[in-house]
Symmetry: none
Subunit: 199 residues, 4 copies
């Protein structure tokens, strides 16, 4: 913690530390001090790299988004070349995927979804986060739109958000069959998927 001059990517380490802190203590527990301690960095260093906590929050949410989009992208295969207007098993794939996320890390800290939702929902009161939240929303919608039309994709995202929150907020058990069922209803009458670029 002393004399450690010259430390490139300290900025990145601070973002990582911020994510861990939020995971452990929530956004309310994210302070310059807690981040500094978590990153093992002098206090002044946090304000040097991120003048305000909002800046740090934005960076954290953005990094989370990248990781999340990658995860979703890996889980949701794009539509095959000869798919009809609607992917046959998308509803079930999504329901299964959602179940995996919500089950989460059984170990100590909060699960990934909870952390992610906390940051995402923080945009409600923090305008600075709004653009990042919008990016996240659009990114996931775009991924799903590879298997259905954009309007349907957006509705799927909303429904999955709503169902996840019901589980997270009320402690209700997750029922994959039920979720697949209602997702399927939204997929009913969906248009053709967005063709991949260059197609």
């Amino acid at each position: 913690m002393a004399g450690r001059r010259y430390d490139p990517d300290r900025r990145e380490r601070l973002i990582d530390a911020a994510i861990r802190v939020v995971g452990r203590k929530g956004i309310a527990g994210l302070t310059h001090r807690s981040v500094a301690a978590e990153a093992d960095v002098p206090l002044g260093s946090t304000t040097y790299h991120f003048a305000t906590l909002d800046e740090l929050l934005v960076a954290a949410l953005r990094r989370l988004n990248e990781g999340f989009a990658a995860a979703v992208g890996a889980g949701i295969a794009p539509a095959g070349p000869d798919d009809g207007g609607e992917a046959p098993d998308l509803a079930e794939e999504l329901a299964r995927q959602l179940g995996r996320w919500l089950a989460g890390d059984p170990s100590g800290d909060r699960t990934g979804v909870e952390l992610e939702y906390e940051l995402y929902l923080a945009a409600l009161r923090r305008p600075a986060l709004r653009p990042v939240a919008a990016e996240w929303c659009e990114a996931v919608t775009a991924l799903l739109a590879r298997r259905t039309d954009p309007r349907t994709a957006r509705a799927l995202v909303a429904l999955m958000d709503g169902l996840s929150l019901q589980v997270l907020l009320t402690g209700a058990p997750y029922d994959p069959g039920y979720v697949a069922d209602v997702l399927r209803r939204v997929l009913t009458g969906a248009g053709p998927p967005v063709p991949p670029e260059g197609g």
Copy 2:
């Protein structure tokens, strides 16, 4: 602020004040002090009536629920005696209602929905709020179940939550036609409404 000894419904006034404070400054701005000032009550009085802020938060969310359930109940008429398995215009009614809530109070403070969602979503990190959030969710679901079946009702609530959050978090405009459309899809194939008690 002084000498106001006998004051039987001070407790209620504190809850009202707490709601106003959260509306104006967010949950992060809810402190014993801010509530005391808002309610024009000595500081010690707040800790006396609500030992912790969580207690106050629970009371506030519960009060909000009551008002909200009443509003929803008034907006969503129960199914008539000879309705078929599904109310013909429920989707549009809900979309319109949602639009009204999201448009909100154009005056100073935050709109009602934003306030309500902030408290509701706070349950993510505050276990004490979880039971109240569950109550809220069940109450609204039950109201909608008077026009469709419970599983569908729960999905409608989730979808409306998700769509509302998209609007609130990303600043996207609200499109009632789109919302009615996707709500209608969820209503597709819904079962019969829950018969009124005693029916």
Copy 3:
């Protein structure tokens, strides 16, 4: 510094401490911490009694005013019953008095005038101090008006302020003969003193 609950007139002690701190380190050195240390009182106590530093500054300047007005009043005897339109030796009395103030306390800390002027002049940038500065100005003017007319009194105050500042700001030596001379010029053609109340 510990366990000293119940300490009435702690508020007064804080004001005294603030005056000593400003005397020693200037307004720039007046911080909640420095006052707390000087008064041997916990830090939180300073913000409890004076929510902002401006409040403390106002209280300090006001207290200083009282003492100063008393000192001036003692030094400047009111006009005798049969005085003509102008007190014969007022100019010299004032010049002598001014010399005594500017000579000040040869010991360590800043002299009283310097301290007083620093707080008084701070009103230039701190609107909160303005009313107190105005009070001070009027009080001294009223005292002098007992020996001459109010317009002349106000000018005497201005001239004495200006001459004092020349000494304090530029380090020029104080020349009582010169000061008496120019004060006398202002007194030339002055009207009758303000009659004492009830006279």
Copy 4:
């Protein structure tokens, strides 16, 4: 803000920036950072050119003096060759001039006088500024001495300072008739003006 290597009059630009900063935020708001930002110059550059803030303050006050002396000189014409011992309208000229300064710039920032007085009065606590304050005082006195004798000039300066401060500190309205009156009294019995050099 980057790569601006060759920049010969950066020093001057920093002084200008410092004056603007003091005008906007007061001496207390003058920091290396605020100057750097105002001058659009890297932070390190300010400490490089002015090791301490006092140095910068001295430079700023000195520059202000030059401009002010020029303004006064332009406003106060020297005595004509056949003037009697006393300039007939000097009192009124000065009163009018003072009124113009105190009215100041009606636009956003602080008026020029306020800024100038703040820096001038700062000498009270900052010995480094004392010589510059003395220069200012002497310069203005010398200018006025071209229309009256030096002792009287010095008193005029003191009286004008005192009257200006009354207006600035207490918010009292400026009354040019009154000011001319009392200035005239000081001019009463003044000696002959200082003859121009070489006269």
